[in-house]
Symmetry: C2
Subunit: 199 residues, 2 copies
């Protein structure tokens, strides 16, 4: 390959990556706003300003697009969360608030629509189950790390898991109404219980 | 009204009540299995062995049928739960397990489908929001009563709320896979933490 071809290839790869990223972000926003029934490759392509053909080049099926989108945004959020607390558990209450925040935005809403659709759609079920397990493990790993939890002590693993289950439940309670006020009081109380339990 | 008419009316009312009940139970089962998209008045009528006309006499719209169904089954479960612990908080761990059980069966699955559909459907949104608030208040009331929680003490209200949020999150984690083993360990650990926090 000569140098001109090399130079041409790099911007082309950049453009392709940027298109993919736009599609993934548009897919999560679409799923959060319109649910699974209202989310198709065409709708997302239009939202992202990408042709339907280009969208299908990146994601041959609807299932490919939406599972990839939820995974991509989950990874972005994990990276952002780690960057927010570079030294680990400096302030456990702040970590608790940030972890609960993972379950109250558009990503959780999008993931919820995908999970619920997966419980009735055969072609989606196994893929979303696998995705949920992967994202769940990663979230648990981050929580343990940022909370400075010592999982070698009996009960600590389950304490962290139950806290993340509570965060998921708080996300669900925020689906139809703005539950911010109640959530802040619950998080303050459970943050203190968690802090005491983790020692 | 003469005595014959009186005698005729009572069985007719009984039959009507029995039909209504069969429709409500079929509606919850249908929603849990097929989701909102697969749940119509016709499908439920067939499942309940009732004519479509009779179903529409009881429930003029799809929204009427499914919101009534979730409310009816939630009330049945509340009554059953109270009957299970007539003396209140005899065994707090058993109460914790029973409360978490509210979120892992077909009722929770049906309610979840209804909530998620309501977040995107205008004609469903306000009705489900109102229903969720009503069922949520009643569940909180039962939890406080059966756990023997003293809400006049600071933080106790939020402790109970957070526990119910955890139960809801555990229900969500059980949607795609059988999460029983993990859930039992989490409930054992948080049951102990909750018991200590409630004093």
């Amino acid at each position: 390959m000569n140098m001109t071809a090399e130079r041409d290839r790099a911007p082309k790869q950049d453009r392709s990556r940027a298109t993919r990223q736009r599609l993934l972000e548009a897919a999560v926003a679409c799923l959060a706003e319109h649910g699974w029934a209202g989310s198709t490759v065409s709708v997302v392509a239009e939202r992202a300003g990408v042709s339907r053909g280009a969208a299908q080049h990146h994601f041959p099926t609807r299932e490919d697009l939406f599972t990839a989108a939820v995974e991509y945004v989950a990874e972005e959020r994990s990276t952002a969360l780690r960057a927010l607390f570079p030294g680990g558990a400096a302030d456990r209450r702040a970590v608790v608030t940030a972890l609960v925040g993972l379950y109250t935005g558009p990503l959780f809403r999008a993931a919820l629509h995908l999970w619920v659709a997966a419980s009735n759609e055969e072609q989606l079920g196994p893929r979303v189950t696998e995705l949920e397990a992967r994202v769940g493990r990663e979230t648990h790993r981050i929580a343990v790390e940022l909370l400075g939890a010592d999982e070698s002590r009996p009960g600590v693993r389950e304490t962290v898991q139950g806290f993340l289950d509570m965060a998921r439940g708080l996300g669900l309670a925020n689906l139809l109404t703005d539950d911010t006020g109640r959530r802040e009081r619950v998080v303050a109380q459970w943050g203190a219980l968690l802090d005491a339990a983790l020692g």
